[in-house]
């Protein structure tokens, strides 16, 4: 028996080649940490799991990925600024990760240059003096010091009052830790640094700790610190780019602006300021506890916790956002507000780019929106897979929030804002979103309207959704069943029919489409199931056209029992309905009960016909969970296990099926939610293969055919491979070949989507063009700059002949480029 243990995050160890890998991971969270713009504002660096994905800001497409450096979640990215325009092509960045390493990358190539080991999990990293030593400047280079917020693993998490977080200083140039701790906190905190690298700050419960960073001499005991006090827990803060001003946001949604902080302590002589202090003591409106600030004012608009605060680059505006999903733009001088509403999700981070007309906002639903700045219009969206949401308390039935369009390799995800998101499994990007309920979404605590079910027909041409409105005190509840028809493009659906209260007021337990027919069935907890058919255009009279749409063909029930699951057989000839504890088989055309099989002790939650065999697998939940395989030809139970199964999927053309099993029973609370995927052959109760997985609760499984576009290896074998998709509870997924783990499957090459050469300009340059270089020395020697690529000869001779310098001059450059060696390779 094959036994492989893997975690979604550490799968990179198994990576083989660049285009053929054993597993395709996907659905990573884009919003685990704030994204960072490259120095020219053309690229956006986003932490995606243990890699950093680089997106083009003009197209919103992924350009490349920095991988191989980290083995765990990347927590922060710091881009090295560039001073001289000639070194435009150089792009370096520092990244830190939970695995305790700091990496130095050249992200234009992309290539790992340097790796620094810290040993402790890094939760946040800033490099304040990075702007002092930009690349390409001829000045003396300083040592780079990184301030990192790490988690002390020696203290266990159970101790409540323990200080687990530490802020340390690390000399990146010498790969050495500076002795001493800057501070200790309960939990590792997010560090923030002012734009000129002068101040470093961290929120510490109801206080704001601010340090003044020395320019070169980094000794712990010489770094000065002030505290600013507030009465509520602070959640976000930001430094003003020019003035001595800091803004802090708290859990109640207030924004506090401290002006002129640290004037006493940070400005040199402590004795001189002591005298001043006594004089100015009374003239500090709003400042608590005799804090070191001139004044403190409060703004209040947000009804709930503030997630981010950010000053605009000129310091005139302050951006704030939180759970309501509205960006508020405050004019700093006057406190006047402007709003950018309807972003559809709680907001997490706001990042300004070096290009003043571009910034991005990160939403909690795994989306990053690029905003065109003064108008705050969304130009592009970088869409990750949407995250699962919690069902309201009264919800019965299945908890899976996904469905699969297997032929197209798409996953349909139910979202909190009443949409169905179609996400391409192989390409790892969003295809489309279908708005199911036309209602303005507001992120609130208690869900009153939600999309409960989605089902996509086998060929993907039909989709059914069920949305439920929860009644208020028994009033105004509504269940509506919607049928959608696919448009001309893939995953574009238009509404075909709406059925209000299809089973009076009972909730729908499942929705299934009949393969090969325009027919669907819904089963309800109210004790009946309905078969729906699609009316094609029938011409009754010359004038009267019957409108096309879905209508109920027949209604069935079995002893008044609640119908809990429904499935069609692969050829569509048999309809299996789980009537609480027994499975009833029906002829879908004539609506005749054919047979009744099995008798479990608790209600059936899921049914599935297994491929082309005559077997049927059922899952039951409740107090006596069970996985049972029933034979439809012998009409009896074939074999069964007592397992807590979360999901079931069967491959279409073989007799195998996979079950996702939770290792703990439902009563226990296991934090890690580990699970096992079991692959069974239907004849044999011994599993064919087993895989350990994490976060199995709320996960799901599906067999998908290999993506035909890059199916090169398998074409030789002649048989059509089917891959298994496992989606975990956080909607991260992995695709692998269940039969042979060594088989490489083609990964869609993301690099093909590289954006074309981006030659846009912004700011001053966009109006007046590039400033000519006024350095007279450089005028005498015409110099050709080119990106340090592996084949520099391609770029040297690029351009029209009248622009090119004479060949005699080019020759030396050309030869020099041939013998050029990359210094980065040695350092590694």
């Amino acid at each position: 028996m094959l036994f492989i243990c893997f975690y979604i995050c550490s799968h990179r160890n198994l990576r083989v080649g660049s285009t053929f890998v054993t597993m395709i991971p996907g659905g990573q969270s884009l919003v685990s940490s704030p994204p960072v713009f490259s120095h020219d504002g053309k690229k956006l660096l986003v932490c995606t799991g243990c890699t950093i994905s680089i997106f083009s800001t003009s197209t919103g497409m992924k350009i490349t990925e920095l991988e191989g450096g980290h083995t765990d979640r990347v927590t922060s990215v710091v881009v090295v600024p560039v001073a001289v325009p000639s070194s435009k092509f150089i792009s370096y960045c520092w990244t830190s990760s939970i695995d305790g390493t700091i990496c130095y990358w050249d992200f234009s190539v992309p290539e790992l240059i340097k790796k620094v080991k810290v040993q402790l999990p890094i939760h946040s990293m800033v490099i304040p003096n990075i702007s002092c030593t930009p690349i390409g400047s001829s000045e003396k280079t300083y040592n780079l010091y990184a301030f990192i917020s790490v988690e002390d693993l020696t203290i266990s998490a159970d101790e409540n009052k323990a200080f687990r977080g530490q802020i340390q200083i690390y000399n990146l140039t010498k790969s050495q830790r500076v002795r001493g701790l800057l501070a200790e906190t309960r939990k590792p905190q997010l560090l923030s640094v002012s734009k000129n690298g002068e101040f470093l700050g961290v929120t510490n419960k109801r206080k704001l700790d601010i340090w003044k960073i020395p320019s070169d001499d980094f000794r712990i005991d010489e770094i000065k610190k002030i505290k600013l006090h507030h009465t509520k827990k602070l959640t976000a803060f930001a430094f003003h780019p020019k003035l001595r001003m800091v803004a802090g946001g708290d859990v109640t949604g207030r924004i506090l602006i401290w002006i002129g902080f640290g004037r006493r302590k940070f400005s040199g002589d402590s004795q001189a300021t002591d005298k001043k202090m006594n004089l100015t003591d009374e003239e500090k409106p709003g400042v608590r506890n005799n804090d070191d600030a001139d004044s403190c004012s409060t703004w209040h608009w947000h009804p709930s916790e503030i997630k981010f605060l950010s000053f605009s680059s000129d310091g005139a505006y302050l951006y704030s956002g939180g759970k309501e999903g509205v960006i508020v733009v405050w004019q700093v001088d006057t406190g006047k507000k402007k709003f950018k509403p309807r972003l559809g999700s709680p907001l997490l981070y706001f990042t300004e780019s070096p290009d003043p007309s571009l910034s991005c906002v990160t939403c909690a639903d795994n989306h990053i929106h690029l905003l065109k700045m003064p108008t705050m219009e969304i130009t592009k969206s970088i869409a990750g897979i949407k995250l699962p949401f919690s069902y309201p308390v009264g919800h019965k039935g299945l908890c899976t929030q996904v469905a699969y369009d297997e032929t197209a390799g798409l996953i349909a995800v139910l979202t909190e804002d009443y949409c169905v998101q179609f996400f391409s499994l192989f390409d790892n990007h969003e295809v489309s979103q279908v708005q199911v309920c036309k209602r303005n979404f507001q992120p609130v605590d208690d869900v009153t309207l939600y999309v409960a079910l989605v089902s996509v027909s086998l060929d993907g041409s039909l989709m059914g959704t069920v949305d439920v409105k929860i009644p208020e005190d028994g009033l105004g509840g509504l269940v509506s069943l919607k049928f959608w028809k696919r448009g001309s493009r893939i995953a574009e659906y238009s509404l075909s029919t709406v059925v209000y209260e299809p089973h009076s007021d009972a909730e729908i337990s499942s929705l299934a489409f009949r393969p090969g027919h325009c027919m669907a069935t819904t089963s309800s907890f109210g004790g009946d199931f309905k078969v729906w058919i699609h009316n094609s255009d029938i011409k009754l009279n010359d004038q009267l056209h019957q409108r096309t749409g879905w209508r109920c063909q027949s209604v069935g029930s079995y002893k008044g029992r609640p119908m809990t699951a429904a499935a069609f057989s692969a050829d569509g000839s048999v309809l299996a309905i789980g009537a609480e504890c027994v499975v009833t088989l029906w002829d879908p055309d004539s609506n005749v009960l054919v047979a009744v099989i099995g008798d479990t002790h608790s209600p059936i939650t899921s049914l599935s016909f297994i491929g082309n065999s005559e077997y049927l697998a059922s899952l039951t939940g409740g107090s006596t969970p069970q996985l049972a395989v029933l034979s439809t030809s012998k009409l009896r139970l074939s074999w069964s296990y007592k397992l807590v199964a979360e999901a079931l999927s069967s491959s279409r053309d073989t007799s195998q099926f996979a079950v996702l099993v939770l290792l703990n029973s439902q009563d226990e609370v296991d934090v890690k939610e580990n699970g096992v995927i079991l692959l069974f052959d239907v004849e044999d109760p011994v599993p064919v293969a087993t895989w350990m997985v994490k976060k199995a609760k709320g996960g799901s499984l599906a067999f998908v055919p290999a993506n035909p576009s890059f199916d090169e290896i398998k074409a030789i074998d002649g048989e059509k491979p089917s891959l298994l998709v496992y989606v975990n509870g956080d909607h991260e997924y992995i695709i692998f070949d269940p039969h042979n783990m060594d088989n490489r499957i083609g990964k869609s090459s993301q690099t093909s989507q590289i954006a074309l050469e981006e030659t846009g300009m912004f700011g001053y340059a966009s109006i007046y063009g590039d400033l000519s270089n006024l350095n007279p020395k450089q005028d005498q020697v015409p110099e050709i700059t080119f990106p340090p690529s592996e084949r520099p000869w391609e770029t040297i001779f690029n351009g029209s002949s009248h622009v090119l310098p004479p060949l005699t001059k080019l020759c030396s450059t050309f030869l020099a480029s041939l013998i050029e060696k990359k210094p980065s390779m040695n350092e590694r």
């Binding site: 309807r342 804002d417 036309k438 409105k469 509506s480």
Partner: protein, 541 residues
């Protein structure tokens, strides 16, 4: 670069049945707008016999000649707002029915044929006996045409005796004659716009022949082709290289220069096409930048169609309540006349007539060629309009139009819901008296879990509004399920208020009565069901 953030969805009742989208009025093309801009009227209602021909004078003020019964009627093109008969009209020197009036190129003389076979030439400016009488035809003369170009002394005529004659008018002598030019009646003819010696004739023997009087009679006709139907009308198009012929219910366009090749066939009429003429589409402004030429055709099916022979497309079609026999279009472009078989002449006039006349002398040559560019008046700061210039500037075809984002219009209750003013939204919807929007607001409040709180907060007047709404709509089948429950809740919650207020008590009494009625209806329905269901069971067996 559309903003991809979510649109604003106004509240909508779940049971609200959307009305079908309103039929969108067909957007008018500039062409049809032009044709509709004519003011219609009826001319010469005294006539009862068919108007067989209509002809505009080629020079200002563009008099119109209409052949009807035994007279040629003349109308003053300068009259406003509609054409009026000239004082010496009609010209009545005909012993029998008059046919085919034709103006000389300078507009001073008019020639017309007649049933008697006599071709007569009249003065246009005053009454009097015919100046010349051309006798050659033995049968009725249906075609008399002056050359279009500056040839003042010749004309040609064709008659039912198949004789085609080319006359020297002053001496009343036939210069050339072609006896047996066709094998049937000659019913159509047109002079070339580029050459005074060339003309085309069409006949009931289906053929169209082109003649040139300069060549020897033996080589005439120099071109002939078959239209396929009896030819009713022949017309040279402005270039002189194309010829339009009408016969049966088709109009055909021929290329003469390449030897009579058929270029296009227009089959847009249902009945015989009776006449053709040239029109011109003009801009609204009375400038002389020409305008595209159009071929107008009329038919006895009552339609007049405008055909763009540059793109070979029908651009406009217009229906009249009678059989149409003749059509004319003023060279000035502001008048259009259509003659019918019952003697009515329908006329369309445009408004800019006055200005048109002032510089109308150019218009004669307009159909044929060069027009001097009129001088554009330059606006000066002394002019009031100078300060308003460019305000109503229309985008040109080459301009890239950036549309202003459409303003989202929200209903009052939507605006209040946006501000989370729930009770106010409910009250506003209740006072608007649209049941579906009230239910929509209520459903939205349910989704926000605020409905019952709103009901609890209503003051007495607003509660009265709510009770009245419930009285009216609670039994509407579409909303009954929701509203009945709500009624019950409202009465439970606000029992004290209802008892203390007299007005509210009246509302509740009404509600009670309505519910009693509803129960009665339900009971009778159940009775009917009880009667029917055994019958159904029996028939089912």
């Amino acid at each position: 670069m559309a903003d991809e953030s979510k649109p604003f969805f106004p509240v909508e009742s779940a049971h609200h049945v959307k009305p079908p989208p309103p039929r969108r009025a067909q957007s008018l093309t500039p062409e049809s707008r032009f044709w509709r801009s004519f003011r219609h009227s009826v001319l010469a209602s005294g006539l009862i016999l068919p108007v067989t021909a209509l002809e505009f004078s080629p020079v200002a003020p563009y008099h119109v000649a209409a052949a009807c019964s035994a007279a040629v009627h003349l109308f003053d093109g300068a009259a406003s707002p509609s054409l009026a008969p000239l004082p010496h009209s009609p010209l009545s020197g005909f012993s029998d029915v008059a046919y085919s009036p034709s103006f000389r190129c300078d507009g001073a003389l008019l020639a017309a044929g007649g049933e008697s076979g006599l071709v007569q030439v009249f003065r246009v400016d005053k009454a009097g006996p015919p100046l010349r009488r051309l006798r050659a035809h033995a049968r009725p003369v249906r075609v008399v045409r002056y050359p279009r170009l500056a040839d003042k002394i010749h004309l040609f005529s064709g008659g039912d005796d198949a004789l085609l004659a080319y006359w020297d008018v002053p001496s009343e002598v036939q210069v050339v004659s072609f006896p047996g030019a066709h094998r049937d009646y000659i019913r159509a003819g047109s002079a070339s716009p580029t050459n005074p010696e060339v003309f085309a004739t069409g006949s009931y023997d289906h053929t169209v022949k082109l003649w040139d009087v300069r060549v020897t009679p033996g080589s005439n006709p120099f071109l002939g082709f078959s239209h396929g139907d009896p030819v009713e009308s022949v017309l040279f198009l402005p270039s002189g290289g194309l010829l339009a012929t009408a016969g049966g219910n088709v109009v055909k366009i021929w290329d003469i220069i390449s030897g009579g090749k058929l270029i296009h066939t227009i089959e847009s009429h249902n009945k015989t096409v009776t006449a053709l003429c040239l029109g011109r589409i003009k801009n609204e402004s009375p400038s002389h930048d020409g305008g595209e030429p159009r071929l107008l055709s009329v038919s006895i099916d009552g339609y007049m169609k405008s055909f763009d022979f540059a793109t070979f497309k029908i651009t406009h079609s217009m229906r009249y309540p009678a059989q149409l026999l003749s059509v004319g279009f003023s060279p000035s472009g502001n008048a259009r006349v259509v003659g019918t078989s019952d003697g009515v002449i329908y006329m369309g006039m445009k408004k800019w007539k006055r200005q048109e006349e002032a510089n109308g002398t150019n218009a004669a040559s307009e159909l044929d060629g060069f027009i001097p560019e009129p001088e554009k008046q330059v606006l000066r700061p002394t002019n009031y309009r100078y300060f308003h210039r460019g305000k109503s500037e229309k985008p040109q075809d080459t301009d890239y139009v950036i549309p202003r984002a459409a303003k989202v219009k929200l209903a009052e209750h939507d605006k209040l819901l946006k501000k989370f003013w729930h009770k106010e939204a409910l009250v506003v919807a209740l006072s608007k008296k649209s049941a579906s929007s009230v239910v929509a607001v209520m459903e939205e409040l349910v989704a926000r879990k605020r409905l019952l709180k709103c009901v609890a907060n209503l003051d007495v007047d607003e509660l009265g509004l709510l009770l009245r709404f419930l009285h009216k709509n609670a039994t509407t089948p579409r909303y009954a399920r929701f509203l009945m429950g709500l009624t019950k809740k409202v009465l439970e919650m606000r029992a004290d208020d209802v008892q203390s207020n007299n007005n509210l008590r009246i509302y509740v009494r009404n509600l009670k009565r309505m519910i009693a009625e509803e129960i009665q209806i339900q009971r009778s329905l159940q009775e009917i069901q009880g009667m029917i269901s055994p019958l159904l069971v029996i028939t089912g067996r």
